[in-house]
Amino acid sequence: MSGLLKEKLNYDKTFDCVQCGYCLPACPTYETMEKETHSPRGRINLVKMVAEGKATVEDLKEPIEKCLGCMACTTVCPTNVQYGAIFEGAKEVIDEEEAKSKPKPRKLMEDFFFQSFFPSSKWMKSLGNATWIYQNSGLQKVSRRFGLTKRAPLHIHEFEAALPSMPSPKKRKDRASRYVRKRPAAAKVGFFTGCIMDSVFFESNQNTMELLLRSGAEVVFPEEQTCCGALHAHSGKIDTSIELAKQNIVAFEEESFDYIVNNAGGCGARMIEYDALFESGTEWHERALHFVSKVKDISEVLVEMDGLVFEKELQRTVTYQPSCHLRNVQKVENEPLELIRQIPGLTLKELDRPEFCCGSAGVYNIVNYEDAMDILDVKMKDVCGKNPAGVVTSNPGCLLQMKLGIEREGLSREIDSVHLVDLLMEAEPRPK
């Protein structure tokens, strides 16, 4: 086994695992797939076996691809194993191996998605606009009536039904790139729009900026920003994800910001780890550290600025499904709960197992649909047990997945799923 492969597989890091098994109860896939091969301990062991030449990259493929990357295991690991690094390293090795053997069309398709589609705000806008046309032209009604969407690949009909309604292309186009306050601002915020968040959840992004403005901040969103690179890293495309990170670092160096704010748990988790992409001591590492020191989730900033009062009573019960990447990687656990509790009239019933992933996990629910639905079923049992009128989430993927879960349970009339920022806006926040 070549030293290079051992290094790529983080062979040395696998020795931090003492195989105690404390990660087993925390792992959603161990629970639903019922075998050690789909547990963190099992996966780390397999990486080690491959590095030692006792198993092949092919043997590693399924166990790694079925990992949600939710990082719940890292919160319970007594020896602080760097599971994220081991996981991404394994993905990269698998991706390289596949690149050698993959039939051309699929490779081209993937290259398009990862290198052109996600990083391009143009494409993302087009996706949002296309969805708007689809929703507003009657096409959606027609295709639903004739069951056309059911013939689409990748269970698109299920996700399609869960999409929020889109803003019109005009509204999208009219958005300003800078919101300056007349009074001196309490903080200057660079807003990270996120690719999916900005295309599909445009309104939530608008609401995020509105909340920041009302809290007393000045909001700017640099035009040159791009995708955070999380989806690339989780698919083994490390090189592209590094390029994207550089582009974002440059974009947010244009002005001096107090915070770089995002409202998507997955993007935030990626961005707070940008420094790990560069060798320490290098110029890029320094620049990344500077960037990382400002990255904050919207909930953290709102709590820190403490500039809002909520005027409207919302007389209903909600529960909160934290984004794994917000909770387990960014370690933001209390701030969203604190904000929810500030809304008058609202009752918060916490889930028994908030730490259990909902099964969305980037593109996991599209690529591993059946497995994701098994995990979602466990989550929905917990949700339904709380009998809420709403599920509050803090990441677009989770939001869509919870909508899907509600649809699947046939409860779309009883339960709604909302992003935290939308819930906060509904409660009519006013500056303090």
């Binding site: 098994g21 087993l24 109860p25 019922e34 099992g42 043997d59």
Partner: protein, 466 residues
């Protein structure tokens, strides 16, 4: 495909008979040393399935290794001779509690911590509390006779078992013991099975004893400027008429490691600390706490710390829990030993550990359940350094010898497994071990149940390097 595999597939769903290389590797290890590839992993979910698997295995003489969550520190579930790993962890986790009888009947897959949780809902407790209770299955705990910090007052797993249902190596289902507190009918097969490490059969159900949950607990921490003083304080306390629930010991190396890892404000200058937990009625606790404080002053303790709140107490216990991960930062590989000595011999044992450390030039730290003499000397090393691992082997061997010289035992709560099998004769003598072996041979004439454990193979030595 092997004939025995074909026959297994006749009554088990294909997805519960795992034969891919990835799956087999996933069951080739536990939390101790060594990896051994099984030929298949068979996931069972009910008694009749176990009986059928064992009948086939017995007929074809294929070894069977029962496995729970694989948290074992002595090598209990390792498939050292290939064959079948019998994965018990996916069995439906039934807990049938009878609060009025103070008993509970559980499936083998139930996580031990969940038994205690269920008991607490009725104001009861299941006393054994191994550190892995939130992960480990009760089946594994029964097989290995696990302990835990509360062992000082409440004993180990075997002290809480009333009855078992087991599948014999020949595939018959039998009951031992029963549901009553008193039961003296015949030879005590229950005690024989508990701690037999899966070498006599597969436990498929257990009836356990519960007890009233103590209404209050009191934590205290005492710092000493000498290890001997700490040892003396332990025996003074235990002979004073007070029986704490836990008495945990940490040496200076552990204290420093924890403070470097996640500072909680432990006294880093102290040569050793003892963390004590008393449990019982609040009034009694007040009196006992005072008495212990007096004892500690007499022995010459540096400092007695009484936490002001539950949170502060929890922080002290958290610090104790951090020892394992904290010392893993000293060096990556941890050989966690389990030798236990009579309580009065703890200071002597500590001296011997110091000698061993110097003689073999290895990193040794000690912590553990000092109140019951169950110390966990940990050797910190690096698996990849073959030369070092050879020195560690010698050091460990001498540690066991030291414990036995002082009237101790090879295992206080982890079991023998593969790790300590080579030393069995040292403790039991040739005939003593032979009598155990005879029991094993009569229960399991074809030797299919968990071979390679407890009983050393000819010339077997402790090997920690590849």
């Amino acid at each position: 495909m092997e004939q025995w595999l074909k026959e297994l597939l006749e009554f088990l769903p294909e997805k519960r008979v795992l034969t891919s290389l990835a799956d087999r590797h996933s069951y080739s290890f536990d939390a101790s040393f060594g990896e051994y590839l099984p030929d298949a992993v068979v996931q069972v979910k009910e008694k009749r399935e176990v009986a059928s698997v064992l009948k086939i295995a017995n007929r074809f003489q294929v070894p069977v290794y029962p496995r729970g969550s694989g948290t074992c520190l002595s090598g209990g579930p390792l498939p050292v001779h290939g064959g079948i790993v019998l994965d018990m962890s996916q069995w439906p986790a039934d807990i049938n509690l009878r609060p009025r009888d103070l008993t509970v009947t559980v499936a083998p897959s139930v996580l031990t911590g969940n038994i205690n949780k269920a008991a607490e809902e009725h104001g009861l407790m299941y006393a054994p509390d191994p550190s892995s209770a939130h992960v480990a299955t009760i089946g594994g705990n029964l097989a290995e006779n696990s302990g835990g910090p509360r062992g000082l007052k409440y004993g180990v797993t075997k002290d809480h078992v009333l009855g078992l249902e087991i599948v014999t190596p020949e595939g018959e289902i039998i009951q031992t013991g029963g549901q009553t507190i008193k039961n003296v009918t015949g030879i005590d097969l229950t005690k024989l099975i508990v701690g037999s490490e899966g070498t006599l059969g597969v436990i498929v159900e257990a009836t356990l004893k519960l007890m009233p949950k103590p209404p209050a607990v009191q934590t205290m921490m005492v710092a000493f400027d000498g290890v001997r003083k700490a040892g003396e304080a332990i025996s003074q306390t235990l002979t004073s008429g007070i029986l704490p629930a836990k008495m945990e010991f940490m040496d200076q190396a552990c204290i420093v490691a924890v403070e470097n890892f996640q500072p909680v404000g432990l006294p880093v200058d102290a040569a050793a600390v003892i963390i004590i937990e008393l449990d019982g009625h609040p009034e009694t606790l007040r009196i006992e706490r005072k008495l212990i404080e007096e004892i500690m002053q007499e022995v010459g303790a540096e400092e007695v710390i009484i936490p002001k709140s539950d949170e502060e107490a929890a922080r002290l216990w958290h610090a104790r829990k951090q020892v394992s991960p904290a010392i893993a930062k000293i060096k990556p590989t941890k050989v966690s030993e389990d030798a236990t000595v009579p309580r009065s011999k703890i200071p002597d044992f500590m001296d011997r550990l110091q000698d061993i450390k110097e003689k073999y030039n290895v990193e040794v730290v000690a912590f553990g359940h000092a109140g019951d003499g169950n110390l966990h000397p940990n050797v910190l090393c690096d698996k990849r350094d073959v030369e070092e691992m050879k020195r560690v082997e010698l050091a460990v061997e001498e540690m066991f010898q030291a414990a036995l010289d002082l009237g101790g035992t090879l295992s206080g709560e982890h079991g023998i497994g593969t790790m300590k099998a080579p030393f069995m004769e040292l403790e039991l003598g040739e005939i003593g071990l032979e009598m155990m072996k005879r029991i094993k041979d009569s229960w399991d004439p074809n030797g299919i149940m968990n071979p390679g454990k407890i009983f050393p193979e000819k010339g077997q030595k402790l090997v920690l390097h590849k």
